[in-house]
Amino acid sequence: MRIKAKLLGIHASPPLWLKSLYVVLPFVLVIAGYALASYFYLEDNPQGKLIPSFGKMWAYFWGFATELDTRSDTYLLWADTATSLIRFGTGLLYAAVVGLLLGLNVAMFPGFRYLVLPGVIALSFVPVVTMLPILLLAVGIGEEAKILFIFLGLVFIITRDMYAAATNVAPELKIKALTLGSSQLALAYRIVLPMILPKLLETVRLNLGLVWVCLIVGEGIAADSGLGYRIFLFKRNSEMAGIIPYTIWITLLAACLYQLLGVVSEVRYPWRYERGIIARSLVAIPELVFQAFRGRQS
């Protein structure tokens, strides 16, 4: 049998070169489209800020990365990145720890469940952005507000997922642990906890996008440093040449973090994965590209 389809249908089987082309094509089209739009736009209004050229954006970005800002005595890009990542990490860490413990205890101890779960569910329905004004009034515009904002955005999602994960641990295994001499606390913290840790990492990984939203919005509304603050500052000056490279930079950070957590999960929890996947993810290239090249191995 020869499969003729190269693009359409469930049997489509394009050769490697064509697959690679498919993967690259959308990116090339977008970039080329932008370049053209920018060219014609700048031809009409050379002082326009809306669709800057690649050269201008690069120069702008490079300036932020390598030129010392005299006012703050820092390299702004790196200072912004560091500030943001610290807020990001702190909020995430608190949310992960609290969410894990809440979810685990809610799942394991019925009394605790009745006491806590309805409240958690109620709070999880509050759209997190609506909490921001309350937070700002309540704790001011310091670091705490932004970290708390990230924390609140994430903690209930993690609690819910950890509750589900701990509940889904087979009751047979829980009973078995008890017959092996586990106390009730040990069952929760020494058996079920390690079994749901990979799920925690996965939940965090899949919700990184939400964390970024909380971070950028928080910084955009009340901050004097950080990537979000910078973007909104650019916006106030209609400086698209700053916004676009910063956005791409944040996207790159997000993608790297996403990949990194995937690799950590696979290396740290080999029992969750069949052999061979670790090697795959260590390559850490975007998954689409990997998909394109997988045909060669199988």
């Binding site: 047979e172 008890l178 017959t179 092996l180 586990s182 079994m195 929890y269 029992w271 969750r272 052999r275």
Partner: protein, 307 residues
């Protein structure tokens, strides 16, 4: 809790279940699964529980394990009323044999690790490790110490699971269709392995299976439960399972592994049990039950009323 209407002392045998009822709430009204079940089991016996699908043999096992509570009746192990799961009873399931996040060695040592204090564990770690490896060697698993369960075959997982349970030296080993998912060859090897372990340790084993040949081959006693029988309650009554057949099929301490599956007596025993556990065209009446085992006993049916 019911009193002991039979007048038998629950301390006479290691396991004593009397007048046990288990009723589950259902959409079409309560469903009685166990209906006046009485069972006494002596120490060191290898008892197989058999019966048609849905007869509650696994339910009875879970009651003995303490994973579920009886609706009424009483269950004792070593003279004490059954409590929630603890190390007095080991359990081997068909699935969920091992903890997926621990290596084989980690799984085997888990029992000690959980029950010893931090300091004690570190003091005795080497000794426990040596014991675990020795046990694993008897199950031909010594080359797989650091593998995770998903890297083992089904038979290897079940062997490890039996070892895991035996490491804690439970008084009673409960097994819920442990070999049900294995291919015939592996299954035969597992049976030999289990008999060897049973003879070495002298543990009381309660073994749920739906395979009569396996039951008669392995055990010293076969207990059949069935919901298909008639009694004085009339045709419309919704009946739960009772013990319908209770036979001695081997001697404790006398190597059951010497049984031959070709022996005509072996086949005859199987047929004797089979007529009770296949959904019978003829529902046997209460008085026709084959309760010839000396430990078998009766209590009057009280309809499962709570007292």
């Amino acid at each position: 809790m019911n009193g002991n209407g039979s007048g038998l002392n629950p301390k006479d045998r290691q396991i004593h279940a009397e007048d046990v009822y288990k009723v589950y709430p259902g959409r079409e009204g309560p469903k009685t699964v166990l209906d006046n079940v009485n069972l006494r089991i002596a120490r060191g016996e290898f008892v197989s529980l058999v019966g048609p699908s849905g007869c509650g043999k696994s339910t009875l096992l879970r009651l003995l394990l303490g994973a579920e509570e009886e609706t009424s009746g009483s269950l004792y192990i070593d003279g004490a009323a059954v409590e929630p799961p603890d190390p007095t009873r080991g359990i081997v399931y068909q699935q969920y044999a091992l903890f997926p996040h621990l290596t084989v060695l980690g799984n085997i040592m888990l029992g000690h690790r959980l029950s010893l204090s931090f300091l004690e564990w570190h003091r005795r770690k080497d000794e426990i490790r040596a014991q675990a490896i020795e046990y694993l060697a008897t199950a031909q698993l010594e080359d797989h110490l650091n593998k995770y369960p998903h890297e083992l075959s089904g038979g290897q997982q079940q062997r490890a699971s039996v070892i895991q349970a035996l490491m804690k030296s439970p008084k009673v080993l409960l097994m819920d269709e442990p070999f049900g998912a294995l291919d015939p060859g592996t299954r035969a090897r597992m049976q030999t392995f289990l008999l060897k372990k049973w003879e070495e340790t002298g543990k009381t084993i309660i073994f749920v299976t739906h395979d009569l040949e396996e039951a008669v081959f392995l055990s010293t006693r076969v207990v059949a439960l069935s919901q298909f029988y008639t009694d004085e309650r009339g045709d419309e009554a919704q009946r739960g399972s009772r013990v319908v057949c209770d036979l001695r099929v081997g001697e404790v301490g006398n190597a059951a592994s010497s049984k031959s599956k070709e022996d005509p007596a072996f086949t005859k025993t199987i047929e004797r049990v089979r007529k009770f556990v296949l959904k019978p065209s003829h529902a046997w009446h209460l008085e026709q039950f084959d309760l010839s085992h000396p430990d078998s006993f009766h209590t009057p049916n009280n309809g499962g009323s709570k007292q």
